[in-house]
Subunit: 341 residues, 2 copies
């Protein structure tokens, strides 16, 4: 009772203080208002009506995320290409799957992934659940010969009871679909609140002066025309190399047709999903082929290839510093390794 | 003061109770006394005068344990072959290193490893530090061309300050030796207290009746003549296949000369380090070549190949149940994934 009174007094004092006035003044800040409109606010989890979050599914999904024995050669788990220690991306240009097979593109981070229009770069996975399911039989990922073989393996590994608990009432719960739902459920919790979110809630001083200038440049030059929304991207497809082919700017070793591979529509040639920028400073290398290691260089290339702009060195530096404010906190739950059955 | 008094009263009450009498009676139990003498008690950490444990070294070592980018192709970290989720062993017959190269032998668990006479199966690594250091340039592990190249890579990855903090006062702390010391330090904390330890402290009922019988058989048949000490093994080398060649019993695909490879002494042919049995039910497949998946089968093979005994089905079952009491608790510290620089 006493402690509650003390807290009330503290709150009242703060609300009456010049600090509070400043806070309110911040809310009127033009850049902040603009940013709030463009980026909105980060939810606590990335919900889906098709795959409601339950603690049992999260628990199972998190265990399965670390399961290597479900891959044909026993070396690949979700965590192999999406290690939490490296912010959910593996640092390779292109991930290695079973038997060292090279995946066609760079592994996007698994954090903040579930809210995007699709998983992967070219929209050939409808979402995180579809990505998890298809990884089971992906020739360069888990490489299992069929979903049936994967289901059999899951049963042999002793997963039946965990699936029963997560998919209560289903007669035969150990299915590739439920594997996908469980992992998807876990991934739907992987949001990473960052300093920029404090800013977007009105706390202007959550960004440094340079980061503030970086954000201003980010918006003024039009980066946000693709990298918008709470995840700073992931909401649309866009041609890489608007005026000139992208490989004139990157260090790409091969030419990737992008979304054309999926749709066979000429307009989709060299079109890729716009990646999210949350935690971008932690998830090099960059682009669909991981051809660029340095974040500043990636920003400069984006300026040229997408916006037709030669960004000044100071602008590049400030944008990169601004990206620092997108580096978020990984939840304790995501950081604790589960023990497998 | 008051609470201390209450505790004293509780302790006195317990000491005077029939429960305490029972506890003391347990201590007189012949099997328990015998087990205490054979296995002793588990320490909190596996100390080394050459590499004293400090929190800074543990912190760095734990981060390095997850660092894949130190391997030549960016796919191998310590955690790849020693995943905590699988009790520190990867479930493969033989681990895959960089570029999918196959290691010569099964990866032993990293838990309770630091107290053994050597690391690896044939004594070609003097201990966990030596194992960590040599892994940097091991052709089938990290595959770096030289220690210098590994040190350069560590600096590029931004490790200098962490090494400075862990090896305070050293002019050039980013060395392969210090990499080894840091990882070794982390590994020296990886002990896994288990139900058997409660038993070895005198709590007879920590083992079930069947486990008790399993332990009895374990000792009576002489398993403990090799698997002794607090880790139930790891303290000596022994010929695999005392009377007949081991491959008559296992499913080995090739013949491994064992420690002969190191010493070139004929008596060391087919000699291997006796593995620890802590967490053995979690670390299949078994033997130096991972040729046997089933723990019961491994026990039966040991009986035949090492003791010349045909264990009865019930004995095998009880020994396997006893091994359940060796499955320990992994510390919270070891379960939390560190974020890399």
């Amino acid at each position: 009772m006493l402690s509650r009174m003390i807290i009330m007094v503290i709150i009242s004092t703060v609300l009456m203080s010049p600090y509070a006035l400043l806070l309110r003044a911040d809310k009127n800040d033009e850049l902040l208002e603009q940013a709030m409109q463009i980026f909105g606010s980060l939810p606590d989890a990335m919900l889906s009506e098709k795959n409601p979050i339950t603690s049992e599914k999260i628990k199972l999904g998190k265990i399965l995320f670390y399961e290597t024995r479900i891959s044909i050669d026993g070396t690949v788990s979700c965590a192999r290409c999406h290690p939490v220690a490296l912010y959910g991306a593996d640092g390779l240009n292109k991930s290695r799957g079973n038997d060292c097979k090279i995946n066609p593109r760079n592994a996007p981070t698994v954090f903040n992934a579930a809210a995007q229009i699709s998983a992967h770069w070219i929209g050939n996975r409808t979402g995180v659940e579809d990505q998890a399911r298809q990884s089971l039989i992906g020739p360069a990922s888990f490489g299992m010969p069929s979903y049936e073989a994967a289901e059999k393996r899951l049963k042999e590994l002793g997963y039946t009871n965990l699936f029963k608990a997560a998919f209560h009432g289903e007669r035969n719960p150990v299915t590739a679909d439920n594997f996908a739902k469980a992992i998807g459920c876990f991934e739907r919790t992987l949001v990473t609140p960052a300093p920029v979110d404090a800013y977007l809630k009105g706390e202007n001083r959550a960004l440094s002066e340079q980061q503030n200038r970086g954000l201003k440049t980010f918006i003024e030059t039009g980066c946000n025309s693709c990298h918008f929304g709470a995840y700073f991207g992931g909401q649309m497809f866009q041609k890489f190399g608007v005026n000139e082919p992208y490989w004139k700017y990157t260090k790409s070793k091969t030419i990737d047709d992008g979304r054309f591979e999926v749709t066979k529509i000429e307009a989709d040639r060299y079109v890729f999903k716009v990646p999210v920028l949350r935690n971008v400073e932690k998830t090099s290398p960059y682009f669909h082929d991981g051809s660029v290691d340095n974040l500043g260089e990636a920003v400069r290339i984006m300026g040229k290839a997408q916006l037709g702009t030669d960004l000044a060195d100071s602008q590049v530096k400030e944008i990169v510093l601004f990206f620092g404010s997108l580096t978020g906190i990984i939840s304790e739950q995501a950081l604790i390794i589960p023990l497998l059955p």
